[in-house]
C-alpha cells in the first residue's frame, strides 16, 4: 500500500543589511532587523498561523489517518522566540496531536556539510537539542539543508545516529528507477533514503496557480486521482515542499488553503493510499535499491545540484573566506562571535549571489531581497571584512 509522505521545510533567513566599506569598523550591526521583523510578521500572518490552524483541525479530525512531518530551522526558531512566540506555540499544538514527526537539519540552515565536517556535526547536535526541547522528540530522520545529499553526507548522517534521510529524486541519480521506492544509501545500508517526487511536489508548490498550465485549476480530487494512479507499483510518494507554499508563495486567493483542506479526505477515499511520516516507512532490505550519489545533489533549480549556492566565483569566494575563519572564531571563545559567524553561514546569503537566471527575473529574483547578486556579494564581503578585523589573529 503506497504511503503518502508529506514533509514541510520551514525556514526564514536573517537577511543582511546593506553594509558598505564606510560601515567597516563603525558598527557591527549586520542583521537587517527591520526587514526580518517585517517579513516574519507577513509570513506568520499569511502562512504559519492560518495553515497551522488548518492542519491542526485536520490532524484532529482524522486521528492518525493523516500525518505530516516538518523541519523548522534553528534560524527560524530563534526569530520566532523573539518576535512571534504565538507561531511557535501553534507548532507545539500540532505536536500535541501526536501525528507529527519533527526532523533534524543544520541549525543555521548552512552549507557546513560541504565545508566543515566538525561544524556540521555541531550544528546538527544543536538542532537535535533544540527540537527535543521544543517538541519532546528525539529525531530519527535527517534532512540536510536544501536536501543537499551525497554518499559522504549520508555517511555522516548515519554516524550521527539517523535512520532515515530525505533528499531530491533527481533524475541524474535515479538510474532507471524512480522515487516511488524506498532506497538505502550505498555508503550506509542501514540508512533509509526517501526521494522527493519533484513533479508531483512542484505541481503544488510551483504550478498550483499557473493559469497557463494545462492542468489548471488543480483540485484535491484531481491530485488524489494522480496519486492513486501510481497505485500498486508505488511503495511511497514523497511530497516535500516549502511550508511557505501555503499562503505565501501561493496566496490564499489562489484557493491553496481549500486544496490543502480537502486533500486528506480525497486521498483517504482511495483505499490503497495512506499517510505515513518518514520514520514509519521501512524498506524491504531484500529488495531496496542502493542509492549511489557521488556528485552532490539538492532540490534547487532544474539542475538539482549545488550551483545555486556555489556556481559562481563570488559565491565560492564568500564561502571560502567564511569557512577559513572557523579556527579563529572557535579560538576566540566568544559566544557572540560564534553566533554571528553561524548566522553568516545560512545558505540563503549565497543563494542571493546566484547569477544563473538573474536577468530572466525568475524564482531567484523573487526571493532575493537584493537588487542584484552583485549587491548581495558586495555587502556580504564588506561584512566579512569587518567581522574578520575583530577576530583574534
Amino acid at each position: 500500500m503506497p504511503s503518502i509522505c508529506l514533509f514541510f521545510q520551514v525556514h526564514q533567513p536573517r537577511r543582511l543589511r546593506r553594509y558598505t566599506i564606510f560601515d567597516i569598523d563603525r558598527h557591527h550591526d549586520y542583521d537587517h532587523e527591520q526587514l526580518n521583523t517585517q517579513v516574519l510578521r507577513k509570513v506568520s500572518e499569511k502562512c504559519y498561523l492560518p495553515v497551522n490552524q488548518l492542519l491542526l483541525d485536520l490532524l484532529r479530525r482524522y486521528e492518525g489517518d493523516f500525518r505530516i512531518s516538518f523541519s523548522l530551522t534553528g534560524t527560524l526558531i530563534d526569530q520566532l522566540e523573539i518576535r512571534e512566540q504565538e507561531v511557535l506555540e501553534s507548532f507545539q499544538r500540532l505536536n500535541e496531536t501526536g501525528y507529527v514527526e519533527w526532523l533534524n537539519e543544520t541549525y543555521d540552515h548552512s552549507l557546513a556539510s560541504l565545508y566543515s565536517p566538525g561544524e556540521f556535526r555541531e550544528q546538527v547536535y544543536r538542532h537535535r537539542a533544540k527540537i527535543e526541547a521544543l517538541f519532546g522528540q528525539k529525531a530519527v530522520t535527517f534532512c540536510n539543508t536544501e536536501m543537499i545529499y551525497d554518499n559522504d553526507i549520508a555517511q555522516a548522517a548515519g554516524e550521527l545516529g539517523y535512520q532515515v534521510m530525505l533528499t531530491e529524486g533527481a533524475d541524474q541519480v535515479l538510474a532507471g528507477w524512480n522515487s516511488h521506492v524506498v532506497w538505502r544509501s550505498v555508503s550506509r545500508p542501514d540508512l533509509t533514503v526517501l526521494l522527493r517526487d519533484y513533479r508531483l511536489s512542484d505541481d503544488i508548490s510551483f504550478r498550483f496557480s499557473a493559469t497557463d498550465w494545462f492542468e489548471y485549476p488543480l483540485t484535491a480530487k484531481k491530485y488524489a486521482r494522480w496519486l492513486n494512479q501510481h497505485g500498486g507499483s508505488a511503495e511511497v510518494i514523497n511530497l516535500f515542499m516549502d511550508y511557505e507554499t501555503f499562503g505565501e508563495h501561493q496566496w490564499r486567493e489562489t484557493g491553496i488553503f481549500d486544496f490543502l483542506r480537502e486533500l486528506p479526505e480525497e486521498i483517504l477515499k482511495c483505499p490503497d493510499l495512506g499517510f505515513r511520516t518518514p520514520s514509519q516507512i521501512i524498506p524491504d532490505p531484500s529488495s531496496a535499491p542502493m542509492l549511489d550519489v557521488k556528485e552532490t545533489i539538492s532540490w534547487a533549480d532544474s539542475e538539482r545540484d549545488l550551483t545555486a549556492w556555489t556556481g559562481n566565483g563570488m559565491q565560492r569566494d564568500a564561502l571560502q573566506s567564511l569557512y577559513q575563519m572557523e579556527e579563529r572564531v572557535k579560538k576566540s571563545g566568544d559566544e557572540d562571535v560564534l553566533r554571528t559567524w553561524r548566522m553568516l553561514q545560512t545558505s540563503d546569503h549565497f543563494y542571493y549571489m546566484c547569477t544563473k537566471w538573474f536577468a530572466d527575473g525568475d524564482v531567484h529574483t523573487y526571493f532575493n531581497p537584493w537588487e542584484s547578486p552583485y549587491d548581495a556579494y558586495i555587502s556580504y564581503m564588506n561584512i566579512l571584512d569587518d567581522f574578520d578585523r575583530n577576530l583574534p589573529k
Partner: protein, 427 residues
C-alpha cells in the same frame, strides 16, 4: 517598404549616442530589405568618406535649394541627404548663438576636423534654423516617394510634419532624449513645447526605453497606447579581443567617465565618489573623457579638492581613441541624472569593462549584469567602485555575464519591432 527618415547626426559626424543608434538601426533595417532615405542637417564642407557611409560633396551653399542625395551604404537601398545646416543634436538655444559666431569667424574647433568653413547665411536663431530645415524637408518630400516617415528627436519635428503634409504619409516620432533629460530644471520652454507639439501630433511614438516612455506619459500627457518601446541595440556582435589581464593589472587602476561633461551626465557626482575612493585607494586614476559646458568647472573642482593629480581630462574622443580608452579602463561609471537610454555602457561591456550605471537610465532595462546606483548616493557609488577595483571574483562574474547578455542585445530584434510599427502605420 521605403522610409523617409529624418535624423541629426550620423557617424562620424556626431557628438553622441543618437548617431550610433541611427547607424545601427538603419543598417539592420536595410538588411531586412527596408529602403531608407536618411535626411540630416550637415556641414557639407566638413563631410568626408568612411568605410560604411559614403558622402558626396553637395552643391555649393549658394545654390542650396535644398540638398544632395548620396548613397549611405554600398547596397544603395539606403541613401543619405544632407540639408545644409549647422544643427547639432545636443544643442541649446544659447549654444546655437555661440556656434553662429564660431561659424562666421571660421573657427570650427569643436567640430574637430580640418574642415573648411565658409560663411553661410543660416537662420538667425535655432528655431528659425529648424524651420529652414523643415522647408527643405518639405520640398524633398515632394520629390521622393516613400511609405512612412520616421524622425528622431525634437529638431526633426517641424521637418517631419511638413513632410507629412506634403506626402500624406504617416509619421513616427522616435524619442531618444527629452528636454528635461538634457537640462534638468532649467529647461528651454521652446524646445519643450516643440517636443510636446511633436508628441501630440505624431501618428505613433517610439521610445528608447520604458524609462523614457514613462516620462513621455507623465511630462507630456501622451496616451500610453500611442508609445512603443524599442531598446537600442549594439552594433555588431564582434567582441573585441579582451585586453590581457597583465595589460591592466598594474598597481594603477583606471576608472572611466565617458560622455558629455554636462549637467545631464552627473560629472560632479562622479568626482565626489572618486574623492571617497581616493581616501582608501590612492592608486586610482579617474579618466574623464568628453567635453561640455561643465568641463571647466569640473577641472576647477578637482583642483580645489586637491585630487587633481588623480584625474585626466581627455577632451572629446572619437573612433579609435574611444576604443583605446575603454581598453585602458578597469571600470566604467555612468552617473547620469537622467539617461533616456545610454549606449556607452553597452560599448564598455563589449570591451570587457564592468559597468556602474545610474538607476535613472533606460539601458539598465536591458543590461542587468551591472551595478546600479542612484546618482546622488555618492557613498554607495564609491563603495561599488571600490568593490569592483578590489574584488576579482565580482569583476570576473560581471564581465562574463554582461557579455552573454550583450549578445542578445543586437539591432536585429530592435529593427523587427520598428518594422512592426511601420507595418501598422502603413496599413
Amino acid at each position: 517598404m521605403k522610409v523617409l527618415m529624418f535624423g541629426w547626426e550620423f557617424p562620424p559626424h556626431m557628438s553622441g549616442g543618437l548617431g550610433t543608434a541611427c547607424l545601427g538601426m538603419t543598417r539592420a533595417l536595410v538588411e531586412d530589405q527596408v529602403e531608407v532615405l536618411f535626411v540630416m542637417p550637415g556641414q557639407p564642407a566638413l563631410l568626408h568618406q568612411d568605410r560604411f557611409v559614403r558622402f558626396i560633396a553637395p552643391e555649393p551653399p549658394t545654390a542650396r535649394k535644398h540638398t544632395e542625395t548620396v548613397p549611405l551604404d554600398e547596397k544603395t537601398t539606403m541613401r543619405g541627404v544632407f540639408v545644409d545646416s549647422p544643427l547639432n543634436p545636443y544643442q541649446t538655444a544659447s549654444g546655437y548663438r555661440n556656434r553662429q559666431q564660431t561659424i562666421k569667424t571660421g573657427i570650427l574647433s569643436d567640430l574637430g576636423t580640418s574642415g573648411v568653413a565658409s560663411f553661410v547665411p543660416y537662420g538667425s536663431d535655432l528655431f528659425s534654423e529648424v524651420d529652414r530645415y523643415a522647408r527643405a524637408a518639405a520640398s524633398l518630400a515632394g520629390r521622393e516617394t516613400f511609405d512612412v516617415i520616421h524622425s528622431h528627436d525634437w529638431m526633426t519635428v517641424a521637418a517631419a510634419i511638413r513632410a507629412r503634409e506634403v506626402s500624406g504619409k504617416r509619421w513616427i516620432f522616435h524619442v531618444h532624449s527629452l528636454e528635461p533629460d538634457r537640462s534638468g530644471d532649467g529647461i528651454n520652454r521652446g524646445i519643450f513645447d516643440m517636443e510636446r507639439y511633436g508628441l501630440t501630433a505624431a501618428d505613433h511614438i517610439i521610445a528608447v526605453s520604458n524609462y523614457t516612455r514613462r516620462r513621455i506619459i507623465e511630462y507630456y500627457g501622451i496616451p500610453p497606447e500611442k508609445i512603443t518601446v524599442v531598446h537600442n541595440g549594439v552594433i555588431g556582435h564582434d567582441m573585441p579581443e579582451e585586453v590581457a589581464e597583465s595589460g591592466k593589472a598594474g598597481q594603477e587602476k583606471n576608472v572611466l567617465f565617458l560622455g558629455r561633461i554636462t549637467f545631464q551626465k552627473g560629472p560632479d557626482y562622479f568626482i565626489e565618489a572618486a574623492a571617497e575612493v581616493l581616501k582608501r585607494l590612492p592608486n586610482v586614476t579617474f579618466l574623464m573623457a568628453g567635453s561640455g559646458d561643465m568641463m571647466t568647472g569640473m577641472i576647477e573642482k578637482v583642483a580645489e579638492m586637491g585630487i587633481g593629480k588623480h584625474f585626466h581630462f581627455t577632451g572629446f574622443l572619437r573612433g579609435e581613441e574611444v576604443e583605446r580608452i575603454f581598453r585602458m579602463s578597469d571600470l566604467y561609471v555612468m552617473p547620469s541624472i537622467s539617461e533616456p537610454f545610454g549606449i556607452s555602457p553597452l560599448e564598455a561591456t563589449r570591451y570587457g569593462v564592468p559597468v556602474i550605471l545610474s538607476r535613472q537610465s533606460g539601458v539598465a532595462e536591458i543590461l542587468h549584469h551591472c551595478l546600479l546606483v542612484d546618482f546622488w548616493d555618492v557613498r554607495d557609488m564609491a563603495d561599488k567602485m571600490m568593490a569592483l577595483l578590489c574584488r576579482k571574483p565580482l569583476v570576473q562574474e560581471l564581465k562574463a555575464r554582461a557579455r552573454e547578455e550583450l549578445l542578445r542585445a543586437g539591432w536585429k530584434g530592435a529593427a523587427r519591432k520598428i518594422e512592426a510599427v511601420y507595418t501598422k502605420m502603413i496599413n
